[in-house]
Amino acid sequence: MKARDKLTHHPVTAAFKAVFSFFSSLKTAIPLLVITIIVTIGISLLPTPDLFRSWWYLGLLGLNGVSLTFITIQHIPLILRKKGRNALIGVVVTHLGILILIVGAIYGGMSGFRYEVRVIEDEMTIVPGLPFVIHLEKLEVEEYPEGTFAPSSQQSALKKKQDSHITLVKNGQPWVSFVAKPGAPGYVDGITVLPALNDIGWTFEVIITDGQGRQKIIPVKPWSPPVFNVGEKPMMVHNLLGEGEFTAQLLTMKDAEVLPVGVITQGHPLEMDGFSISLGDIRRYTSLMVYDRPHAPLLVTGCLAMMLGLIWHFYFRHRERGRKKGTSRGENDTHV
């Protein structure tokens, strides 16, 4: 008896008790939920959703989880006495599910990795940190027929088909091959490979030939266009235009101003100051998201438990009510 008394009066135990009784009270849970709703509305009115990813918002969700856990524990005897075993199972499973979901969301904020890489057709791409090399073998693209969307609309950038044929190479050997596209990512070893919806286009070469037939080849990647010299002039090319017959706009820079110089057309070199400027090798590129999410199983388990608990709860509440209304069988026999 004495030892136990000592334990209950131990400051740590007392503190835990105080915390438990604070969080297991509806007087805490309800204001907490109301605060969460109000804060969520408040953040939703801001121009960016960044605050939703802040530690204190996640912390607020976490506190809801704590309160939900303690309350459920606190209420177990009461529910059992007043509402029976089936009600208890429903409530516990649902709340456990939501708790797992909250834990998963918080853990997800601290774990896993996510890379965004651009890969070019027929090239190997090394991503530091990934245990494989990405080989984009082919990028099959089909456009929507012209006039499907208003030219200015967001959708006009979308493709009817954008299949990335990918082989992952490990230790110099082809490892796995798959086709990935938006809506149908590739999954390998817990890692997801998903092509981005809108970052897709062409990489190409600009070939500069001087009077003596000497060639300079400039690779152009639209996401970081290079500056190169033609004779003495600094030049730039941003991207390719057109389908079928490609063109590229050549630009020069003068006192921080960008001025158009001419257009290079596929098969028709641009002649300028004794130089001949033409388009070389043209290839597609796409950007890929490569990520792993160790918390995914938690999210799935949480959702499943939550839904199962809800269905269970609903089923048994109705069965019980049906019984009370219908035949006057014993109210306490709640066999499963």
Binding site: I41, K161, G183, A196, C303, M306
Partner: protein, 265 residues
């Protein structure tokens, strides 16, 4: 040709709904069960036209008409009216229509403002998960519309000191539970679809955030009833707040910030 037929059916459905509602109101004022029954028969005809309209559109578009904003709203209205017709099979429930039919009508009128053009189905929208997402979310919202109408019915009866407002109080609760389950499913499936297309489960874009807020309000309603034993008036007020959140999530958010969500229009 199709367009004209479609347009005719659309306005015919609205017309029948307006007549049915007017008739229903009158029957209710007079306390005439017979007149109410006639109103419901008219409503059935209107609903048949409505369903036929969706069928034609499905046939013509070659995919389930759940792509454009117009299609969403008209489908939502079809569910709302459908839910009422289901309830109206029991005579004692029929007063619900006085307040639920205007919700359906509001949606139909809102739809008249939207473009009726048929859009091709984008590759990324061609997904069972997405259809399931739209369907469950709309079912959830239709169920909450019932909670809303039942709560208003309750408040009305209570104020008039009429008998048995408890029927509508319980109806509101039960519908709320369905609404909550469907919205939960809708949010989960929506997140899964977004994950497969955009590579992330949750973006906190305004539509997502507001459906989460709506979900929290539904949650608060259910818990207030279950744990705090809120009933009647107080619960009804929460139900109305929940309904405002539904409408805002559904319509209002579209006028806010740019978002990934958005229908194809």
């Amino acid at each position: 040709m199709y367009e004209i037929v479609e347009q005719l059916l659309f306005y015919l459905a609205i017309l029948l709904y307006v007549i049915a509602w007017g008739w229903h109101l009158r029957g209710w004022q007079l306390g005439s069960a017979k007149q109410t029954a006639t109103a419901i028969r008219i409503l059935w005809v209107g609903w048949a036209v409505h369903v036929f309209l969706m069928g034609i559109r499905w046939y013509q578009a070659g995919h389930i008409p759940l792509i454009t904003a117009f299609e969403f709203v008209v489908f939502f209205a079809m569910l709302v009216i459908g839910v009422f017709l289901l309830f109206s099979l029991k005579e004692k429930n029929r007063m619900l229509g006085v307040f639920l039919l205007p919700v359906g009508l509001f949606l139909m009128f809102y739809a008249t403002l939207l473009s009726r053009d048929i859009q091709p189905e984008l590759a990324i929208f061609n997904s069972l998960l997405l259809k399931f997402h739209v369907l469950t979310t709309l079912l959830g919202y239709a169920a909450w519309s019932t909670t809303f109408a039942a709560s208003i019915s309750f408040l009305y009866l209570e104020r008039k000191g009429k008998s048995s407002p408890g029927l509508f109080d319980r109806m509101a609760y039960r519908a709320a539970f369905f609404a909550f389950c469907f919205l939960t499913l809708g949010i989960i499936t929506g997140a899964l679809w977004g994950d497969r297309v955009f590579g992330q489960l949750w973006f906190w874009d305004p539509k997502e955030t507001w459906s989460f807020i709506t979900w929290l309000i539904f949650l608060a309603y259910l818990h207030a009833r279950y744990t705090l034993d809120w009933k009647g008036r107080r619960a009804a007020i929460l139900a109305i707040i929940g309904f405002l959140a539904v409408i805002f999530t559904y319509v209002g958010v579209d006028f806010l910030l740019p978002q990934i969500h958005g229908t194809q229009s």
